[in-house]
Amino acid sequence: MCGIIGLHLRDPDLHPMLGRLLDDMLCGVSERGPDSAGIAVYGDEERNPPGHTAVSVLRAPGDLAATVAGLLPGAPDVRAQPAGDTTVLTAPVGVDALIAAVAAAAPDALVVGSGRELVVYKGAGHPQDLARTYGLREVSGWQGVAHTRMATESAINPEGCHPYSVGADQCLVHNGSFSNHATIRRELRRQGVSFDSENDTEVGARFVAACLAEGDDLEKALLRLGETFDGFYTLLVTTAEGFAVVRDEIACKPAVIAEHPRWVAMASEFRALADLPGIDEARIFEPDPGKVYTWQR
């Protein structure tokens, strides 16, 4: 199964409520993925201040912030925010510089998210427990996604947890399974792309990131994914500009979209949307197979 939720807030008055809304939505998809959960939030200025970069790290050593600060020019203030399996490092430097410093400081650590707007949390365990670990209800911002996982293609561990964030401020979450991911992984490896897990979804995320790096917009990247990947999927992809939803042509995997003047939301099941403010006035529909739906900030 797996469960997906995504919320894009159009009304700035709702930004302080992002975490509460996401937490309520997460309850509606917990049964679909009880073995792990990850979240990604955009625009939480407490967790990723303006002018800073946040990098989310698994297997971070306790002294990572100090070591990273020592490696960066000018020894800037590097802050570490541990939350379960994930440690979020922030520093007033560029994304590439912070990732490189983390890699140099802790070769065994794994970067699972990075961006100027974005903060990513991943972990294994029950989604509701993890939501408390991540402090989800206290999150603010303009966009968030979460994924609850019922593992099928690879092990239950934080590395296999979604979202996959393999480019700055990009996230991809997936309900379904890709059947030709090994072939595409080999092809991408030949092109110099490296992988962090054996997870099928990571291949999708790397593919989309490569398309975006080539200059595609989100819609074109997802249409190319549809031409290349075989399998079942509902995907929610987010960037610093907005979010996109696409389902495969057979569309066995569920998705419900609700569009309201104050927000756009997507979830695997309606019950995750039931408590959103103004849901009764929202336009609620299922995305058509193979069609890419995008919303810009």
Partner: protein
Amino acid sequence: MAALSRAEAEERAPQPLTVDLAEVGVRALNAELHAPTASSYEVLNPHGAHSLAVGVHDEIDVRVRGHAGYFCAGMNQLGRIVVDGSAGNGVAENMMSGSVRVRGDASQAAGATGRGGLLVVEGRASMRCGISMKGIDIVVGGDIGAMGAFMAQAGRLVVCGDAGDGLGDSIYEARLYVRGRTGTLGADCVEKPVRDEHLAELRELLTAAGLDHDPTEFRRFGSARGLYHFTTEHSGSY
């Protein structure tokens, strides 16, 4: 036919027994409906919960005030169930008799494998509407998604809007009526002439659903019966 028009649905259920899902769980609701102490029920705060009013086997009225999740009114026998909202996957799946009315839209596989009774979706129905239907009647006020009536064996599907691609793939003997446009037809599904008996049954179904479309606006689709038997035409390839 246990016809339940919109007006009748409004009139029914005087003083229903109220079950508030903000206070009790779905199991308690279904346990009550399986051994009913009332003839009429109103379900509050469904919030998209799954398996609402599944397995009803008495002639009772159930009104769900809001959106339902997966499998609502599955396996219904005799019950008259109305959802004042939309319904998730598999509404009225394997219905045997009675009626189910969804005032909003229905997700995938509405009326799947249904053997009898009437399912009315006032809004749109998603993909695989009436998949493997075996005698159920389904009337959809709006469009249906792709792969409608896949392997449909018996019963009637009436679509007042458009039908998506792959309609009636591998169909047996169900009769499909579409008022709007159709996409590609599925394997072995063909358009067939509409004769007087078809206009008569369409009129009956539309009336039962509370819709007043002119039956002559519909086209009929069914099986070309070309897949009933294996053929030897490709045997030389093996």
